[in-house]
């Protein structure tokens, strides 16, 4: 037997984990210690290459890692203990799965011989997280650990990105085995995501685009996930074709909001022009979006007259909700590059002047209008002012979930990808604050603002303590209407205005709360105070809780009512009680 004591690749499982993080270029880990991960925390203590950000709740670690990943394009890494540590991660894992965010989550597990014994802080982590992850592993042998960790990073970041879990029993962390750096054979041979699009399909797509009379480009989060080049290519394609472009919630920033061809976001709370363009188009190019139910409205009346091209890296996204005519499976950036090349070589910019004139008429309806008010701050106005006063700054925006999220999407213009972090698919209240923590860790000198609601923000407000500890100057801009606004809106529209449990009773005093956390509290009550307070918030180099008192009963419009199609939107000026009642006539509303 050879003496392995001097082999640098001989190490404990715990040491392998830290070594693998370093080998994958990980600089920050979000986590919370506990019994089943103590050996790993001991290794973290003895090195300085990986910085650990201690959160206050594991869910916060998960969302922080999501914010980190989405704002950098790198995987977010989480380290939590067994049992409750793992179960608290289920929400962010599912969130990341729905929004295709690369996360690598390492969980501690009870020692191998105790698995299945209902040991202290034991849970079936791989069983519980199986439907919440792209893939997961339980490592029973320390000599498998290096391979699994490398595969985990590969799986999380390639193909359609997503969260993965590596569950490591405590005895495996203590055991000594052989580490190896990442290599190709670490990955399942059965995992081969397709990157390059089929050339014949791309030609078919170009032929459709070149002959379009009423085209639209509908882009989504896949373009952002594909990397900054994909957004550049998308912009070039818009330029080369002259087509109008809209985007999903997740895709904002891929095409600049100030761009001439921008229609605004589409879907349930999208602009009138975006939804009408989708409904009446003859050729639709869907890039990295998935025809989700908030986008399509009624599927049998969704864009009835169009030929649809769908670029997606995940074959299961194709024909899931909407039948498409030309599916192209591949990475958005890669396919857009090929498409653009073929288009430039073989097609001319089609003449769609008449279509743009039609769009101009829709735009003239000004579907995002709201009545001005000098006495109370309207939430739309607050976001517009926040946008204007941060223009030109190096700004990242996160949100919670609800009305404020939709208003942020409608009124905050994004010029670049990776600047907008929001929970789209899962719709996780409490996402924004910890996500802001993660973004600020990745971009310490940038302005990071969480546009929040008074209800959502309380779900993870404990992470203010994390922000204070790590001197992360995040700005929590709370649109405080003292309601779960979106719930209240639905109750008003669909349930006879019976506001069952949607009033935020016993709200904390956010200014005093800020004080208690050791950060700064600000408040604005009147529109006249708003600009000054926002400027003050921006100038403060510490975490801020901004309590922006807004109109309590404002509703988010325009809106596609349930069971309606894109061309049946309810516009703000039409949203009288009577029109609303009629639009929701199928429901119990307002009877």
């Amino acid at each position: 037997m050879t003496d392995k004591s001097h082999d640098p690749n001989q190490m404990t499982g715990a040491a392998m984990i830290v070594r693998a993080l370093i080998d994958h270029g990980v600089q920050h880990v979000f986590g919370y210690p506990g019994g089943a991960v103590l050996p790993i925390y001991d290794e973290i203590f003895q090195q300085s290459e990986v910085e650990h950000i201690l959160v206050r709740h594991e869910q916060g670690a998960g969302h922080a890692a999501e914010g980190y990943a989405r704002s950098t394009g790198k995987p977010g890494v989480v380290l939590v203990t067994s049992g409750p540590g793992a179960t608290n991660m289920v929400t962010p894992l599912t969130d990341a799965l729905m929004d295709s965010i690369p996360l690598v989550c390492i969980t501690g597990q009870v020692p191998t011989h105790l698995i299945g014994n209902d040991a202290f802080q034991e849970c079936d982590t791989v069983g519980i997280t199986r439907p919440a992850t792209k893939h997961n592993w339980l490592v029973r042998d320390v000599n498998d650990l290096a391979r699994v960790l490398h595969e985990a990073f590969y799986v999380a970041t390639t193909g359609r990105p997503g969260p993965v879990v590596v569950d490591v029993p405590k005895d495996v962390q203590f055991a000594t085995g052989t580490y190896h750096p990442p290599r190709k054979s670490d990955v399942h041979v059965s995992y081969t995501p397709r990157v390059k699009g089929d050339a014949t399909q791309i030609r078919k797509a170009v032929a459709l685009l070149a002959n379009a009379k009423r085209p639209v480009i509908y882009s989504g989060g896949g373009v952002i996930n594909s990397g900054p080049e994909a957004s550049q290519l998308l912009r070039q394609l818009v330029e080369a074709t002259g087509f109008p472009i809209t985007s999903t919630l997740m895709g904002l920033g891929a095409y600049p909001a100030s761009g001439p061809n921008w229609l605004g976001m589409l879907g349930m709370h999208g602009t009138y022009e975006a939804n009408m363009t989708m409904h009446d188009c003859d050729v639709m190019l869907c890039v990295g979006a998935r025809f989700d139910d908030r986008i399509t409205g009624r599927t049998d009346a969704f864009s009835p007259g169009s030929k649809k091209i769908h670029i997606d890296i995940d074959p299961s996204s194709i024909n899931k909700n909407i039948r498409v005519d030309v599916p192209i499976i591949g990475d958005c950036g890669n396919v857009l590059g090929d498409l653009l090349q073929v288009f430039k070589a073989e097609a001319k910019k089609p003449d769609i002047k008449a279509w743009w004139q039609q769009i101009a008429q829709w735009r003239a309806r000004n579907s995002l209008s709201y009545r001005k008010n000098n006495d109370v701050i309207l939430p739309q106005y607050a976001i517009q002012r926040l946008f204007e006063l941060t223009r030109g700054k190096d700004t990242y925006i996160t949100t919670e979930v609800g009305q404020h999220q939709m208003w942020a999407a409608q009124f905050f213009g994004f010029e670049e990808p990776h600047r907008w972090m929001t929970s789209g698919g899962l719709g996780t209240m409490g996402y924004g604050l910890p996500a802001a923590v993660g973004v600020q860790v990745a971009h310490p000198d940038s302005l990071v603002i969480d546009i929040a609601g008074d209800a959502s923000v309380q779900m993870t407000i404990q992470e203010m303590s994390t922000a204070v500890q790590f001197e992360l100057p995040i700005k929590i801009f709370i649109l405080n209407n003292q309601y779960m606004g979106m719930v209240r809106q639905w109750q008003q529209l669909l349930h006879g205005n019976r506001l069952s449990h949607s009033y935020s009773e016993a709200l904390p005093d956010f200014v005093k709360l800020a004080d208690a956390y050791g950060c700064v509290g600000l408040q604005a009550h009147k529109p006249a105070d708003l600009d000054g307070a926002i400027k003050e918030m921006i100038s403060i180099k510490r975490p801020v809780l901004f309590d922006c008192r807004v109109a309590a009963l404002e509703n988010c419009f325009p809106m596609i009512p349930s069971g309606k199609a894109h061309n049946e939107m309810l516009l703000p000026e039409e949203a009288t009680d009577e029109a609303t009642a009629k639009a929701f006539s199928g429901g119990k509303a307002l009877v």
Binding site: V155, H495, S562, K588
Partner: protein
């Protein structure tokens, strides 16, 4: 469109259902069957029959045969959803390949005497079922064939003293020289 108060678009699709047999080649590793079954239950797909066994020991490959029912769009979804799982090598729709063979094995216990016993033996012979266990008052038959043949045999045994049935579920393979 009359839909109740809901934040979702409630509509029913009325595409006709089809039954398909899928062969799924997977890495035989812990949890792989749970992944496949979890996919079906989690997404509300049907499993009419499921069989699984290791087929290539050295490569650690297992073959799962699933008979499922759904609209054409759902069937396509199932195949894509299976295919994108990390330990899944290939998914082949045996129903679409056209020339596949499906077999199922069943063991059927029948108890009785006199004419019923004679009749059971006679029918077993007609169905090419073998007697694999016998007592003075019972038989266990082994029968192989496609699912409908087995169901038919079981139906015939019912009045003759059927006690219990154990079925393997469907296994399928394509005709001709090519593998999947």
């Amino acid at each position: 469109m009359n839909q109740p108060a809901s934040a979702y678009f409630l509509e029913e699709r009325h595409d006709p259902n089809e039954t398909h047999t899928l062969s799924v080649l997977v890495q035989n590793e812990p949890g792989v069957l749970a992944r496949v079954i979890g996919l079906f239950s989690g997404r509300g797909y049907n499993i009419d029959s499921l069989t699984v066994s290791e087929t290539e020991n050295q490569k650690h490959l297992s073959r799962i045969t699933i008979v499922t029912t759904g609209t054409p769009m759902v069937i396509q979804q199932i195949k894509h959803q299976l295919d994108r799982m990390i330990p899944v090598y290939r998914v082949v729709d045996m129903t679409l390949t056209g020339s596949s063979i499906e077999r199922e094995l069943a063991m059927v216990k029948v108890r009785g005497g006199g004419d019923h016993r004679v009749e059971a033996l006679r029918l077993a012979d007609a169905f090419r079922a073998r007697v694999i266990d016998a007592t003075t008052e019972s038989f266990v038959f082994e029968i192989t064939g496609n699912s409908s043949k087995i169901s038919q045999f079981i139906d015939l045994m019912r009045p003759l003293g059927l006690v219990e049935v154990s079925r393997t579920g469907v296994a399928a393979i394509t005709r001709g020289p090519e593998g999947m």
